[in-house]
């Protein structure tokens, strides 16, 4: 048999296998049950307004708070890690390794439930939600600190030397030469971090939240019970994807662009 014939036969078999798998799935699946349970129009109509104005909104707000707080923390940690003074470097390293090594869930439970328990009900500001967001800040700050440090260090040494040779101080060199270039380098990984944070806000539900404070996952799981239907989960999943897909596409675009610039 000729090589090209062999290749055509092999590709044909693979296509047939794929189509067969899809066909089996379509035939075997109980479509009416799936439609009835996961895409229940009545349930969807009932939860729809709150899903968007409350749950999705809260998810976005918690994500934004955690990201902005985490970024500020990460900036301080990154500068500490690059400090010529050893105690600062050690402290930053210890913090980063500690919080990167823990599951975010345990940190949230610790901040939201552990601290009030330990200190006679003295809680972190903002109640359970506040504590949970602070926990996300603590964790994401550790991750983003490493990203920022890597970005700052990725700016070539010659840039700092050129600025110094012009008589610019360390602070001005950092502010007007190094950081503007580092920011460009870290935008794609930081956008990724937003996506991860957005998904991590689903962990907040463990803190126990009040009326009007539920984020998407919490809201969906409550409504699964209320309506005894899994449809709210699908609705929440669609909400997550509407936010995350454009962001991941943006990251891919930014990475392609920065590769071209090189």
């Amino acid at each position: 048999m000729k090589r090209s014939t062999k290749r055509r036969l092999r590709d044909g078999a693979l296509y047939a296998l794929f189509l067969g798998a899809v066909a089996t799935l379509i035939l075997v699946a109980d479509w009416s049950k799936i439609r009835h349970n996961f895409f229940d129009g009545g349930v969807l109509k009932a939860i729809w307004p709150e899903l968007v104005t409350e749950a999705a909104k809260n998810t976005v707000v918690y994500t934004a708070e955690a990201f902005i707080g985490g970024l500020a923390l990460a900036f301080v940690l990154a500068l500490m890690k690059l400090s010529p003074l050893k105690p600062y470097r050690w402290a930053a390293t210890a913090y980063i390794e500690f919080f990167r090594g823990l599951p975010a869930l345990i940190v949230i439970i610790l901040f939201a439930l552990g601290i009030p328990l330990a200190f006679n009900g003295k809680a972190l500001p903002g109640g359970a939600i506040g504590a949970a967001v602070i926990a996300l800040i603590a964790v994401s700050g550790a991750y983003m600190a490493e990203t920022l440090r890597a970005g700052i260090q990725a700016v070539p040494r010659g840039q700092t030397e050129a600025a110094h040779s012009l008589g610019m101080s360390g602070t001005w060199t950092m502010l007007s030469v190094v950081l503007p270039q580092a920011v460009r380098i870290v935008i794609p990984p930081l956008t990724n971090e937003i996506v991860l944070l957005l998904k991590d806000t689903s962990l907040i539900s463990v803190a126990g939240v009040g009326i009007g404070q539920a984020e998407l996952t919490n809201f969906a799981s409550d409504n699964v019970v209320i309506n005894s239907s899994p449809t709210p989960l699908i609705a929440a999943a669609v909400c997550y994807l509407i936010i995350t897909l454009p962001l991941t596409q943006l990251v891919a675009y930014l990475e392609r662009r920065s590769q071209k610039a090189r």
Binding site: G158, E161, A162, S165, L166, G167, M168, S176
Partner: protein
């Protein structure tokens, strides 16, 4: 001629490795001193010690009468008087050419925007790139980038200029433009210390040639003299390979 740079018994270690083993030399005001030597001879390290981009291990460097190895010296002020041009240009890629030239003027010399831009444009004119003020470094050729880098250093009105192999990263056909700019600068009386492999430039423009090898100055003197009649065996060996 008063002395611009005086180096006394300069030693520099990188860890255990001694790269400068007691350097003594002077650059007079208005003089063009070219430093040549094989790679690893310490010539770039010496140049970088003069504005303390490298920290000397011991010895003194006196710039216009001021000992810049003194820990109390205002290093930023000293550096603002010494222009430096790097092999890799090191323009700021996130800033357009004009902003590259005005940044340090405004931050260090506290010039206002209009004045800094006026000086920047004058210096761009000088290196023949007035029309590139709004371009970004990535859109310039290597030779243009290096001329912008020279204009950036000149915009600080330095008393002297250090050149660290300014043409080594350039395509051969772009070297001439950069050397022309440097030649004009020398003609205007700028004090220059140039680490280079361009023997032609050293011969025509240099007032003094320094040959370094193994962390010491092996031979120095009038460039034409040293290049055509080297006294030391190591100088002869080196020149026989590069000329």
């Amino acid at each position: 001629m008063p002395t611009a740079i005086e180096v006394r018994n300069l030693h520099k270690y990188f860890g255990e490795n001694e790269v400068l083993k007691g350097i003594d030399f002077t650059v007079d005001q208005g003089q063009v001193v070219c430093v040549i030597g094989p790679s690893g001879s310490g010539k770039s390290t010496l140049l970088r010690c003069v504005n303390r981009l490298e920290e000397p291990t011991s010895g003194q460097i006196v710039v216009e009468g001021e000992d810049i190895t003194d820990p109390e010296v205002d290093l930023n002020k000293v550096r603002s008087r010494i222009g430096m041009v790097f092999q890799q240009f090191n323009l700021f890629p996130h800033l357009c050419v004009l902003d590259n030239l005005t940044l340090a003027q405004r931050r260090v010399l506290k010039r206002d925007k209009a004045e800094a831009e006026k000086i920047a444009r004058a210096n761009l004119e000088k290196v023949g790139l007035a029309e590139k003020a709004d371009a970004y470094p990535a859109h310039l050729s290597g030779g243009q980038q290096q001329r912008v880098a020279i204009a950036r250093a000149l915009s600080m009105d330095p008393d002297m200029m250090l050149f660290d192999e300014p043409t080594s990263a350039l395509d051969p056909e772009l070297v001439g433009d950069v050397l022309d700019v440097m030649r004009r600068l020398a003609d205007e009386g700028m004090t220059m210390m140039v680490v280079t492999h361009e023997m032609g430039f050293a011969r025509e423009v240099g007032d003094k040639l320094v040959f370094m090898d193994g962390g010491v100055i092996v031979e120095e003197g009038d460039p034409r003299e040293v290049l055509s009649n080297p006294q030391h065996e190591r100088t002869q060996q080196f020149l026989s390979k590069v000329l």
